[in-house]
Symmetry: C2
Subunit: 455 residues, 2 copies
């Protein structure tokens, strides 16, 4: 029929049978998490109050492939394999000689890539007899995903939602409630940590770091409850590799091989999900790629942070992990890409950056929304504010290719739709959106707070 | 692997090559639209100020198959073929012996089935040199779809959005603006009709009937502009048959044949889109099905209206069409299924109901939201309020099958997602949602307004 193919779609039995574990291919093992009290590497027993043993095992595994259980693959089949698109219309709109592809994770019922790990986390917990999960959420993508997974496997879910989002994004909260979760604004009166913050700052807008502290306390103090985290940890990044594993097969269907991989990164799970399987090939000498992580100027941990041990949360309840950090007291400005508003970066993504295996760029939010509108008008899909960070770098690279007379193949991850972010788009269209300069002073103070911690 | 298949997905080259025109198989031709002034059947010349000739030709065609142009199929490939799901999880949750399938149209970038006709309408207009389209929208699904189609084919789009929705659903409006459309609250100061309403009722919340009058006037009074309608007309229903045509092929993939087809109906395009290709088989004696149209108790044109000539709009600017109607002055209560709030029903759907070829049921909104929550917790996807009408009848039929010891195969159309309807779900969950009794007195008055019109 002469029509160019737009979507590359795998049949359901091509949902990957194993996750890819990059630890098997790294030249140096990732530095271990440390106990904040002793400064010594933590063991499984330290993590057991928070996580089921299966996930603790995955956290430290060095096996290259970790089998995906059939009930997890069956739940994945609600939306996986996700489509890979060739961006013909965007290419024409840009007049570019580059060939642009994107993997689209917004097809999940929660609207983002987050169910890729919420589903197995809920399943492993259910298998070990856990009845209830606690978690935090900022913009609401992760809380929605875990609420969905709880509905699938019959687990109660308690979500500590950053107060600012709780008030500004009632629809995300409503969706969690439709799935049956109970959602409370953080800081909340439901935990000791929350009560202590409220006593000092009754009007605190909250932060992701505070909400993590509350959710961790909830799980640590209840026998029936474990904690679930939506990014940063090794097992979370592991689960997300279904994205890249499928994309490899789909790029073969398309008869192309990427030269450049682009993904946005907040905690790191979206970035790792797409790129780690490709990075594995690069580490094994089978292929070479430019791999670009894109973060917001307002929370530029990879491009402006330091690489050292820090807490994952504000309340200093988590283990210390070695990562690029802006300091656990640093609270990013209220950019609309809530999923990228985090002081740290996953230890694995931090390590591959430190090893020079990937590049990183930071972009301002007005530019990202401009790219999002351009993308929506060409491709139809409205991107969430997080992946517009990736899109803006993809457009830069595509235009650079024109100037240089090259035809690179660019692959990026469109990790979610923006149906709950239209107030932000409206602010952009009306000219009300502001860019935030890098808050160098705030970060300097936050980093001073790391004095005395192991390096 | 022993996993049950969840999704049945056709490759892109199986996007249908022709739409199915039920007029070819009907035992009696549909009564012609009449000129409101003369009472005589209208001809192409009467419609030419509003529609391009290609669509006028489709409106009166008796050909069984009408070819889909390649540029339309290429734009369809943004999201078509859409997936067919087997509702394994819902079946388990209900403990039913029925086998339930659904076609999911929420994968379109606009979030509903509406782009199936917005795309060809925009394309045919562009081919005939039209630069600008005017339309109305109630809940916003249709306006979003036409804005998207305008962005695809480079047409300006002006949307008259019912004032109540304009104020209550800013996100839908924002999405149209992201696609580049200009959106105004109706009644508006931009048309004579709008100004006349505002002069008498400055605070009018508007209605779909009023907004149609404004959009029709806009197109009729500007040389560069034509009008686009999202439902009711024959060519609109025609374009939607891609849904049923794909579903037939996917049911074959699944190795099942439906016994019962269910779809919600407001103007009729979603209902016709799924069921007309199957109804064609029934009319040709090739198969038999129960076909159920589901409408809201608050706007029950098929179950409580009269079958006679009426206007499509409040301002009496459209041709007279023979249909089930509650009277063009009838304004339905503000149920959340905005896409079903219309006084009339498509002439083709009305005719097949009058011929006894389909059944119709009306349901109250609290029951539909209860069904929507049940569906979301089982299947993950959050349905729009419109298809929850279909879901509630599907659940009734599935539970009846248990009681009767039968195992029917039920197929319904999940015509859109509910990401912009979470305020309504929140009202349901908090117990604030009300049911509206059938307003018999209002309808009696509205029907009196039809005195003197042809029957």
């Amino acid at each position: 029929m002469g029509m160019q193919q737009t979507k590359f779609i795998l049949p359901e039995d091509r949902i990957p049978r194993a996750w890819y574990n990059i630890a098997a291919d790294l030249p140096t093992p990732p530095p271990p998490p440390l106990h904040p009290g002793t400064g010594q590497p933590i063991g499984p027993a330290d993590l057991a109050p928070l996580f089921p043993m299966a996930l603790i095992g995955q956290e430290v595994s060095a096996e290259r492939e970790i089998e995906i259980p059939d009930p997890v693959r069956e739940a994945y089949s609600m939306y996986r394999p996700s489509p890979l698109y060739r961006a013909h219309r965007l290419e024409r709109a840009l007049g570019t000689s580059a060939r642009i592809y994107y993997k689209y994770e917004g097809v999940s019922p929660a609207g983002s890539h987050k169910p890729n790990t919420a589903i197995p986390q809920a399943w492993y917990n259910q298998q070990e007899g856990v009845k209830r999960l606690s978690t935090e959420t900022g913009a609401g993508q992760w809380g929605t995903a875990l609420s969905l997974a709880g509905a699938i496997f019959g687990l109660e879910v308690k979500v500590y939602m950053v107060r600012a989002s709780y008030d500004q994004k009632p629809y995300r909260r409503n969706l969690m409630e439709v799935y049956g979760a109970s959602v409370v604004a953080s800081p909340s009166p439901d935990t000791n940590y929350g009560r202590s913050v409220l006593a000092e700052h009754p009007d605190s807008p909250g932060s992701l770091g505070m909400a993590i502290s509350e959710a961790v306390e909830d799980a640590a103090t209840r026998d029936d409850t474990k904690y679930a985290l939506g990014s940063v940890l090794n097992h979370v990044l592991l689960h997300q590799t279904v994205i890249g594993l499928e994309a490899m097969e789909q790029m073969e269907m398309a008869g192309d091989e990427p030269d450049i991989l682009v993904a946005c990164t907040g905690g790191g799970s979206n970035f790792a999900g797409l790129t780690f399987p490709f990075l594995g090939r690069k580490l094994r000498g089978e292929a070479d790629y430019r791999i670009i992580a894109v973060e917001p100027e307002a929370a530029p941990s990879l491009t402006r942070g330091v690489y050292r041990y820090d807490f994952g949360d504000t309340g200093q309840m988590t283990p210390l992990v070695k990562m690029h950090t802006l300091g656990h007291d640093f609270i990013p400005e209220p950019i609309h890409a809530g999923g990228l508003r985090y002081h740290g970066m996953s230890p694995l993504v931090s390590l591959v950056k430190e090893l020079g295996l990937i590049e990183a760029q930071a972009v301002h939010q007005r530019k990202t929304f401009e790219s999002g509108v351009r993308f929506a008008r060409a491709e139809g899909i409205l991107p969430a504010p997080e992946p517009t960070h990736a899109i803006s770098v993809v457009i830069d690279e595509a235009l650079k290719a024109n100037a240089e007379g090259t035809s690179p193949v660019i692959l990026f991850n469109l990790c979610g739709h923006g149906h709950f972010d239209l107030a932000a788009y409206a602010r952009y269209l009306s000219g009300d959106l502001v860019d935030y300069e890098f808050p160098a002073d705030q970060v300097r103070v936050a980093l001073e707070g790391l004095e005395g911690l192991p390096v």
